[in-house]
């Protein structure tokens, strides 16, 4: 880490505090300053750190990224293409890191519910936001989270009061237009479900141009007792871009959290996804699918923290790799001594479609309770031979067999998305992506069993 990198971000910070960032309350300014100091201490991580051993972020560190002063243009057509078709949804659009009221369309919400931009919630000094922001994910945990917090400005904010269900899913579109060279957005998302509340959120990360950009997002999810929260992330940024996101959920007794990550885009994408299971009989589902091609590097680092007894957690990450792509999966599960009867299952399966693709997969189980059921499994391999033989025995040629089995492999991951409309949207994105990456127009639509 060179001093000039730190100086660059200090200068950016000074300009940021002078400009648009001023309207925020004093405690936010305070938080940002502390986070900047933290980032100045650590700088960007290097491969010397265990957590970053396989993912070299030097290309991010050596570029002088800047916040665009204003947002670029996004057409209605683009939004039409990316919203969930045929489904009512609260559409919340962010362009180059800023909420766009013109492009957004939030329907009628239950009393006391907020769906919109964080900047607006901050300028009204929303009490829930103040009590939750940066509480789920302390910025000290990760240099990118510290940098994000230093430049914290806008992002998706969802707050659902106790006992309230938001029926239609919330769909946040984070669109980057790369209006300036080396544009960065530090999106800051917050989802708070109070006691017994329920909400479903889809976050689509997209590029509206081919220009390189850097997304450095943080998403905090707070699921209070008895709540049900599903957050699905679809990352489809252009292949020249860098994507880093820290997602962290904190859930309490009897709550149910579903997180899903679909990673398709970016040159380098790093996802840190953690769930703190902080109450009895809370259920945690953390799943994902990554499809890497070309020279892409897609990294998921997950962490599940079992603190109390009787909590099930399920984790399935699947990966498909072609060309010279690389993927990293690191799945940490920590079970505290008090967390008896923990039932935790972690699986990571990778399908390699070329000899030059590489996967580094590592489970990390630290279990300090004795009466638990914790399993993990990792696999890296080619197409299932028995399945391939079955298809071929029905006359299906090798090429089409490969396509069908690849789709099937992906389907086993996407079936973990609970909300039907979201699952359909994820499936469609996967099929579209596979069409271009497998060079086959004949890719079947994904169907799921009952």
């Amino acid at each position: 880490m060179t001093q000039s990198t730190i100086d660059h971000y200090r200068n950016q910070f000074a300009a940021f505090e002078r400009n648009g960032a001023r309207s925020a309350p004093a405690w936010v300014h305070d938080l940002r300053r502390k986070a900047l100091e933290r980032f100045a201490e650590t700088g960007f991580p290097t491969t010397a750190l265990e957590d970053w051993k396989y993912t070299n972020v030097a290309p991010i560190a050596r570029t002088e990224f800047r916040r665009p002063a204003s947002s670029g243009d996004v057409t209605k057509d683009f939004l039409e293409q990316h919203r969930m078709p045929g489904t009512a949804q609260h559409l919340v659009v962010f362009v180059d890191g800023r909420f766009s009221p013109e492009l957004s369309s939030v329907g009628t919400l239950p009393d006391g519910t907020f769906v919109g931009g964080l900047a607006a919630a901050l300028s009204s000094d929303d009490a829930t936001v103040k009590a939750s922001l940066s509480q789920v994910l302390p910025f000290e945990l990760n240099p990118f989270a510290a940098l994000n917090t230093a430049f914290l400005y806008d992002g998706l904010c969802v707050r659902v009061p106790a006992g309230t269900s938001v029926i239609e899913p919330v769909h946040a579109l984070f669109v980057s237009t790369a209006p300036v060279a080396s544009a960065v957005t530090h999106l800051r998302n917050l989802v708070v479900a109070d006691e017994g509340a329920s909400v479903t959120v889809l976050m689509s990360y997209l590029s509206a141009s081919e220009g390189a950009h850097f997304t450095n997002a943080v998403t905090e999810v707070l699921a209070r007792s008895g709540s049900a929260v599903e957050v699905v992330k679809m990352q489809r940024e252009n292949g020249a871009s860098y994507h880093v996101e820290n997602v962290r959920a904190h859930q309490y007794a009897g709550s149910m959290v579903h997180l899903f990550s679909l990673a398709l885009g970016a040159a380098i994408a790093r996802n840190d996804m953690s769930v703190i299971i902080d109450g009895e009989a809370a259920e945690c589902n953390l799943n994902g699918l990554y499809i890497a091609s070309g020279e892409q590097l897609l990294d998921h680092h997950t962490f599940m923290h079992h603190i109390h007894p009787n909590c099930p957690s399920h984790e399935l990450f699947k990966g498909i790799l072609t060309d010279s792509a690389r993927a990293v999966f690191n799945g940490k599960v920590y079970v505290e001594p008090e967390a008896q009867k923990t039932d935790s299952k972690q699986t990571n399966r990778n399908l390699l479609l070329s000899d030059t693709a590489v996967v580094d997969t590592k489970p990390e189980l630290e279990i300090f309770a004795d009466d638990v059921k914790c399993t993990h499994g990792a696999a890296v391999g080619g197409l299932n031979e028995a399945h391939a033989f079955y298809l071929k025995s029905r006359g299906i040629p090798a090429e089409a067999t490969r396509t069908m089995l690849t789709v099937g492999f992906a389907a086993e991951a996407t079936e973990k998305v609970r909300h039907t409309a979201l699952r359909r949207h994820v499936d469609a994105a996967v099929v579209e992506h596979l069409k271009s990456k497998l060079g086959s127009t004949n890719v079947p639509d994904i169907v799921h069993g009952t």
């Binding site: 079955y390 025995s393 006359g395 299906i396 069908m404 099937g408 079947p444 799921h448 069993g449 009952t450």
Partner: protein, 252 residues
């Protein structure tokens, strides 16, 4: 139709088939019976071209063409069909997409025009009625979550759609109740014609009450040790395989 001569096959370096000779002519139905582990499924898989089995000796001609030289999909295009003893589940891909893909490849190979979606769905509907399968199975992932009986019925559906010249049924009757068994047998019988042939692998005589074979062969330890007419199946049912094994030992 098919001419199998002195067929030897290994799996993991162990010889399972130890010289099989079998000729099936068009219009015939042959039953292969034999104790567990005798090599019945191995024979079926070798004919379909499963890559786990190595043929070490012998030849197989399908309509005069060298079957062993073909890829599994080419064997299917040439008119061979295997109803698996243990059909696998293919997630994510619908039964109907899968079947349409196979059928159109086979039609191409036969020099017929491919069916479009409408034509295919019409055909599929008819065939599903034939095997008494609910329409919803068309849109479910191939065999995923199907019961044992539903999987077997799905195999017969595939056979009915693909209309092979030579169908090999590997214990399609096992695990079926009598009603399902009748449906499966009916499916096979409807396809019976002077131009087609079938090899029915079974453990029990039961199925042969409904699919009456022209010939019955007994496979023991990788060899056909006895062949006869349909009455041989009844004999086996009454006496079990032990009598045959004893006979073998006496002649040995």
């Amino acid at each position: 139709m098919i001419e199998i001569k002195n067929l030897h096959a290994n799996v993991n370096g162990r010889e399972i088939l130890k010289g099989i000779d079998l000729t099936v002519k068009a219009g015939e139905v042959h039953a292969i019976m034999g104790p567990n582990g005798s090599g019945k499924s191995t024979l079926a898989q070798v004919l379909a071209g499963h890559p786990a089995y190595q043929v070490t000796q012998g030849s197989v001609l399908l309509d005069g063409k060298d079957l062993l030289d073909m890829e599994p999909e080419e064997r299917s295009h040439a008119g061979l069909f295997l109803a698996f003893q243990y059909p696998v589940e293919i997630p994510g891909v619908s039964n109907s997409y899968f079947l349409k893909a196979g059928l159109n490849e086979i039609r191409k190979a036969r020099g017929e025009e491919e069916l479009d979606s409408m034509q295919f769905l019409k055909l599929l509907k008819e065939k599903m009625k034939l095997v008494e399968m609910e329409a919803s199975f068309a849109n479910r992932p191939v065999n995923e979550g199907f019961s044992g009986g539903e999987k077997k019925r799905n195999e017969i559906l595939q056979m009915a759609v693909l209309e092979p010249k030579l169908a090999i049924l590997d214990e399609t009757d096992s695990g079926l109740d009598i009603d399902a068994l009748k449906i499966v047998a009916e499916g096979v019988n409807k396809l019976r014609s002077p131009k087609n042939a079938a090899i029915v692998v079974t453990h029990y005589q039961r199925l042969l009450n409904y699919i009456v074979p022209d010939f019955v062969h007994v496979l023991v330890n990788g060899r056909i040790v006895k062949s006869g007419g349909k009455e041989l199946a009844l004999e086996l049912e009454a006496n079990g395989y032990d009598t045959i094994k004893e006979e073998l030992q006496q002649t040995a």
